[in-house]
């Protein structure tokens, strides 16, 4: 049985026919849509490498069935920058050295984008660490990751203030 869904991925609407109703969003992105920026670390919801934003919320794409997402807005790491201009979180990860091998980085960045949008952590390092604890970094670049999230949070808040003013 084939099933058809419509997704908006990184701003572009896509009609997708699914031959297998059990295909995960992660496999759909990586294997069908040629978007391998989202990484597979464990494929069972335990490492965070596959984090993407679905309808404004961060999710583990390896646990999300594509078939359940009809009509959803999906943002992946490939869709975060605007042309050549990096997203503030991406910039902060470079500046604060928020990675080593880089394999967890797309997931960390998407998770940070989600966390900042949730507005739960502010720039409190303790709460940032808690909020980012679903994303394993085996290289343990946690110091840089925490600083990057702090930095990006501040910058985005300032930019918002600037916009409002």
């Amino acid at each position: 049985m084939s099933l058809s869904i419509r997704l908006t991925i990184n701003g572009a609407p896509r009609d997708i026919a699914l031959e297998d109703a059990r295909v995960t969003l992660l496999d759909l992105l990586r294997e069908r849509l040629a978007l391998p920026g989202t990484k597979k670390g464990c494929d069972r919801g335990q490492c965070g490498a596959c984090t993407v934003i679905v309808n404004g919320k961060r999710v583990n794409s390896c646990l999300t069935l594509a078939a359940t997402l009809d009509g959803a807005q999906v943002t992946t790491i490939e869709g975060l920058a605007t042309g050549d201009r990096l997203h503030p979180v991406q910039e902060a990860f470079i500046e604060q050295d928020g990675f080593q091998c880089g394999y967890c980085t797309p997931g960390q960045i998407m998770s940070a984008v989600g966390l900042i949008a949730e507005g739960r952590a502010g720039d409190d390092p303790e709460r940032i660490r808690e909020g980012m604890s679903g994303n394993i970094c085996r290289c343990a670049a946690y110091h840089g990751i925490t600083l990057a999230v702090q930095e990006a949070t501040r910058r985005m808040a300032e930019a918002e203030k600037g916009d409002a003013a």
Partner: protein, 807 residues
Amino acid sequence: MSVASSLPHDAARLHVTGAARYIDDIPTPKGCLHLAFGMSPVARGRITAMDLDAVRAAPGVVAVLTAEDMPFENDVSPSNHDEPLLAEGEVFYVGQPVFAVVAASHLAARKAAKLGQVNYEELEAILTVDQAMAANSRFEEGPRVYSKGDAAAALAKAPQVIEGSFEIGGQEHFYLEGQAALALPQEGGDMVVMSSTQHPTEIQHKVAEALGVPMHGVRVETRRMGGGFGGKESQGNHLAVACAVAARATGKPCKMRYDRDDDMVITGKRHDFRVTYRAGIDAEGRVLAVDFVHYARCGWAQDLSLPVADRAMLHADNAYLLDNIRIESHRLKTHTQSATAYRGFGGPQGMIGIERVMDHAAHVLGMDPVELRRRNYYAEAADGGPSAPRSAAPTPPEDILDPRKHVEYASRGSVSEVSQPGVPAAPKGAQTTPYGMEVEDFILHGLTDRLLETSDYAARRAAVAEWNASHRLVKKGIAFSPVKFGISFTLTHLNQAGALVHVYQDGSVHLNHGGTEMGQGLFQKVAQVAAARFGIGLEMVKITATDTGKVPNTSATAASSGSDLNGMAVKAACDTIRDRIAAFLAEQHQSEPAEVRFEGGRVHVGSESYAFAEAVERAYVGRVSLSATGYYKTPKVAWDRIKGQGRPFFYFAYGAAVTEVAVDVLTGENRILRADVLHDAGASLNPALDIGQVEGGYVQGAGWLTTEELVWDGKGRLRTHAPSTYKIPACSDRPEVFNVALWDGANREETIYRSKAVGEPPFMLGISAFLALSDAVAACGPHYPALNAPATAEEVWRAIGRARDGV
């Protein structure tokens, strides 16, 4: 000047945009097939029947391979030719690959692999240290013994003797990118393999053996790994060989990656150890004698176990001058995964042994553990800095040209194949390690002073004591531990490296070397070296994937040696080209080559100055070769591993940490409150990258000794094969206060810009977390807690009982 600056990783922008490609991200060519292994469910057994018809008939399956289908060698061992890729009639651990399925998709291959009907006659498995000792199941004929002085006599005379035994768990690498390989068949039977490996030359060698072709028929490429930590030094052989054989058989590109569960079940891990000790001490806390016995569980195949266990012995002294010491090391063969390289390569297991002795001695004597350690330190180097080179005794050439086929020259596992004659002795009266190497560069006295001051150790120790006196349910602990780690491959001939540098007509530079990038920032550091040699900006230097077709016969990127070796080789190549350009321009300007300067993107000759690109263009038109190879071999090292004598290391890297923890007395739950680290990276090439290595090393080391617990059941099945059951430090586990600084000395040896290797040494700073837990537990009762590693909440809780009630 591009060296010694804190520049981000070379691929930073690619990483944050998701554009950095790992093996599984490379668009697969049309018709690419995928592999999965069928694995043994028993720890030891004979295969009595194998029916793979259902596998062959499964949807999408193109081929099924067993040992019989291997056209040439069926071996993936980096050392002893004792590790068949696919089982040959017998199996030796749960998870051992028995057959390989080649199918149209990864999922189809995995599903089909589950359909194999294989019958086993189960045999009794040897799983534990005790079982292996009872059965005398081991590698090498008997234990290795290194010694200095007379430990037995000194123990007999010592005023006081302490003794104990403790377990040190293994560790899963959990590189976030699992093992992966992609084989692309070429014309004439050649093969190109893309592999997530720390050792492309080893992959090339094993694939060539399996395909029955010379090494020139195989080219291996590695752009980057999503973490390695030692787990990709030999453990990628299986996937690369399987893909190559399948690609040869089907004529199609073949790819394989392990799912996380399979990765954890199939691949080797850090060796777990039992260490027993007897130490003679005096009332002042001097350690007069130590007798260590190491029991290493090596698993079913030899892999790199011998050099790992050797390195454990070589770090049994850590920072301490011991006049009488004996180390006996048993390399036990068990029916479990074949334990392999892991950051530190046995060093951490050896080091924690002597740190345990120091901790135990301080407890028994009621002395401050830092003071006791200092009393046993090696003497400080007279000058912290570079010294005039001394002429070393000449070494006869090594006889490594044994024509025997299939010797694993390029692997650390080849220890038993190569002899190292002519090892010079340390000068008379020098302070030496238990293996006879003079310690000339010791800096821990000064480093310790500085760290104790910046971490406010004395006041915090008093505060911890005060807290413990007034709190019953939460106890605190604080501990200091030093690191002295030997840098070089102990297999001397591996201490060599090559590089290939091209300068194009437009002044851009293409750079290749034998090292691999796994997040440690090697590519960035090496590019900085090249930019500095030519006096140009980093944007003019392109670092390309490691490629056995460009630089041959490379050693693994391991033993922390990446920058030391490859940086020097790149420097040599750049200097060759630079000298050619200088000679050419000097001649044109009636100047001396030595007076030609390369700086600020320009080349200065006499009163003239050219943009680098212009100088290059002139040289090209003047028919000057702008391409060169570079080569480097580490000086001074020579080592006899059978006698345990010589100079296995070019130099030592140092560091120290102070960690404070809190422990819940009722549950054993615990937390790192603060860690202060001071680490010696020599004259750092890139402080930002080095600090990242130090932080990451500490966290990974602390994880090994606290939460990361591997559990095998009585049938030899690994029960902790996913992150849900195997606890890796998360962001929230990082110490709340974490101060990391680099020591500002230069390497006294002539390394690349006087820097020091920094990949492995900081891992052992995590030992301070373990000792801090021991300190907190010791506050719960009068007895020594005799903590085992990992000190999980459960183990801490048990140790609290021991501290209270005695063992």
